[in-house]
């Protein structure tokens, strides 16, 4: 998969670095070190410079993400509408700090500077679903949709049922 992503781009062209990194991140969810090493050789750029670019932009991540990515908008409009409390509510509900991934790899909590949906502030975005005008009270209900469904408890009893 890594080869395909990198091979789309012309060899030795340094200007494609940002789109290339975006594609790698789309494919893997983050920027794995070995893929970056390969990319560095392909476009003829030192790995250190790539690391410099990858850490400069907020979009790129060097660690794998959870299954569900929760992005909390902390733009001005959302801040005025109390998004700090929403963030705190999420932090305590998930026991995570922004940028962290839960131990079961189900949730990643992220803070973004503006999602571009200021008219429905405060906004959070889970994967590709937007939740606008939310309050702290709704957090639990929203998170429940993304909890992994627990292994069916009925499976233990099922032999009895079949008897």
């Amino acid at each position: 998969m890594a080869n395909q992503t990198i091979a789309q781009y012309p060899k030795g062209d340094r200007s494609v670095l940002i789109p290339l990194l975006q594609d790698i991140q789309d494919a893997f969810g983050y920027l794995p070190e070995d893929v970056l090493t390969e990319a560095a050789a392909h476009i003829g750029m030192p790995l250190s410079s790539i690391y410099g670019v990858a850490t400069f932009y907020n979009q790129f991540r060097l660690t794998p993400l959870g299954k569900n990515i929760i992005r909390v908008c902390r733009g001005t409009a959302c801040h005025v509408k109390n998004s700090a409390n929403i963030l705190f509510g999420l932090e305590s509900a998930l026991n995570l700090k922004p940028g962290q991934t839960s131990r079961d790899k189900n949730f990643t909590l992220e803070v973004v500077s503006c999602i571009g949906a200021c008219s429905i502030a405060p906004v959070i975005c889970i994967n590709d679903d937007y939740y606008g005008r939310i309050t702290v009270k709704e957090i639990d209900k929203i998170l429940k949709k993304y909890q992994p469904t627990p292994a069916k408890a009925t499976s233990v009893k099922s032999p009895e049922v079949t008897k």
Partner: protein
């Protein structure tokens, strides 16, 4: 090329594409870039679609409409850096480098992308070209004031009834935008301020609400047109908190190339963070002195940052603080002297207590409390342990019986 803060593009990308073709024909450019934030996937997909359509009909590509003029458009997705709105940083970002601004001159018009002459403009500017060419300059100039012509798109948001994008003629007053177009403040709250021009604009109070919306008048009262952000704040918004919020943002988005912006905004943030702190016994005399010293030096520090920063981000970074000090001095003084936040936003200055007569003992706040600062038996009134309370306000938000008192 252009940077983009203009969401109206989601609706009318053809206007922009046509404007860019005309501009490219005028200067003889064969390649154009649209720089768009990756956080706006809808805009990117619509733009891509429109560019494909234009290519299909021969409006983009080689030999456009048999004019022997070639022009191609490419979308560049930004990777989440606020400073890339600055023209030289945007060019660095397209070249695949860290988005750091360069000193000017040379200006991009002389040496821009790949060292070639480059015209770089905002989406709104290029979108206006189409209507100016087709309807004439007089028509365009008939709207607006003497120096600021035409219309301007604002993104109304915050504590206002009608949120969303509005296009207004230059020269109408802020009052009209807030109370007529915006429909006023919801829940009968009092208007406090309007913040114009994105994170580096200024906060304007009621006293200057009769100001005309045009480039010069806004600059005179300490704000700027900027990106067209228009955030309305009501009495529940604390201006010290807003200053802290913007400095935090500028601090984290500063690219770190020049010292005034990198270090200066950090120091400003430290000064502002000292303002809303609660009274503690012991260390207080020194702390009090430092707080006053900080505020006294703040204005000078802001002036230095504004005068010596490399790019627009740093030069305008002190704006929210300066306009706050100018118009909301009494609020700063209240935080400093009385250690009180009238809007109840600066959590450190608040105390949370539970009204024992209203508390039903449901235990919801106890479960929600992140620091286990609430104790009590189920079915009986609960209490807040003040030394454990971190004043997050979660109990206030969750209580269904309005039993939490804040003062």
């Amino acid at each position: 090329m252009l940077s983009w803060t203009d969401q109206s593009l989601k609706v009318i990308p053809y206007k922009l594409i046509e404007g860019m073709i005309v501009a490219a024909y005028a200067i003889g450019a064969n390649f154009g870039y649209i720089y768009c934030r990756a956080e706006y996937p809808l805009a990117i997909s619509r733009l891509t679609h429109c560019i494909h359509e234009c290519e299909k009909y021969g409006l983009l590509g080689d030999n456009i409409l048999n004019s022997k003029f070639n022009f191609r458009l490419k979308i560049k997705k930004g990777a989440g850096a606020f400073v890339c709105g600055e023209e030289t940083a945007l060019i660095a970002s397209i070249e695949g480098k860290r988005g750091m601004p360069k000193p000017r001159p040379p200006f991009p018009a002389v040496s821009g992308l790949w060292g070639k002459p480059t015209v770089i403009n905002n989406v709104e500017t290029l979108s206006n070209i189409t209507s100016i060419i087709s309807k004439g300059a007089e028509w365009f100039a008939s709207v607006g004031t003497e120096k600021s012509k035409g219309t301007k798109v604002f993104a109304l948001s915050g504590k206002i009834v009608n949120t969303g994008l509005v296009e207004i003629p230059m020269g109408i007053t802020l009052e009209e935008v807030v109370f007529n177009i915006g429909g006023g403040i919801p829940f009968n709250k009092k208007f406090k301020a309007v913040q114009i021009g994105g994170p580096s604009g200024g906060c304007l109070p009621m006293s200057v609400i009769k100001t005309q919306v045009d480039y010069e008048s806004l600059k005179d009262v300490g704000a700027m047109m900027g990106s067209g952000g228009f955030v309305v704040m009501d009495e529940d918004t604390c201006m010290v908190d807003i200053a802290r919020f913007f400095l935090n943002f500028i601090q984290s988005e500063s690219c770190g190339k020049c010292v005034p912006c990198r270090e200066g905004t950090k120091r400003m943030l430290e000064i502002i963070e000292r303002v809303p702190v609660a009274y503690k016994e012991g260390i207080d005399k020194y702390d009090q002195l430092q707080r006053f010293k900080g505020i006294i030096g703040l204005k000078r520090l802001a002036d230095v940052i504004r005068d010596t920063s490399l790019c627009g981000l740093g030069q305008s970074a002190p704006n929210p603080v300066l306009s706050g000090l100018q118009y909301f001095k009494d609020e700063y003084e209240e935080h400093l002297f009385d250690r009180r936040c009238r809007s109840g936003v600066c959590k450190e200055l608040l105390t949370f207590t539970i009204d024992t007569t209203l508390c039903s003992g449901c235990g919801l706040c106890k479960r929600k409390c992140g620091t286990e600062a609430i104790i009590g038996q189920k079915g009986e009134a609960h209490y807040v342990l003040q030394d454990k309370c971190i004043k997050c306000g979660m109990c206030l938000e969750t209580c269904r019986f309005c039993a939490i008192n804040v003062n």
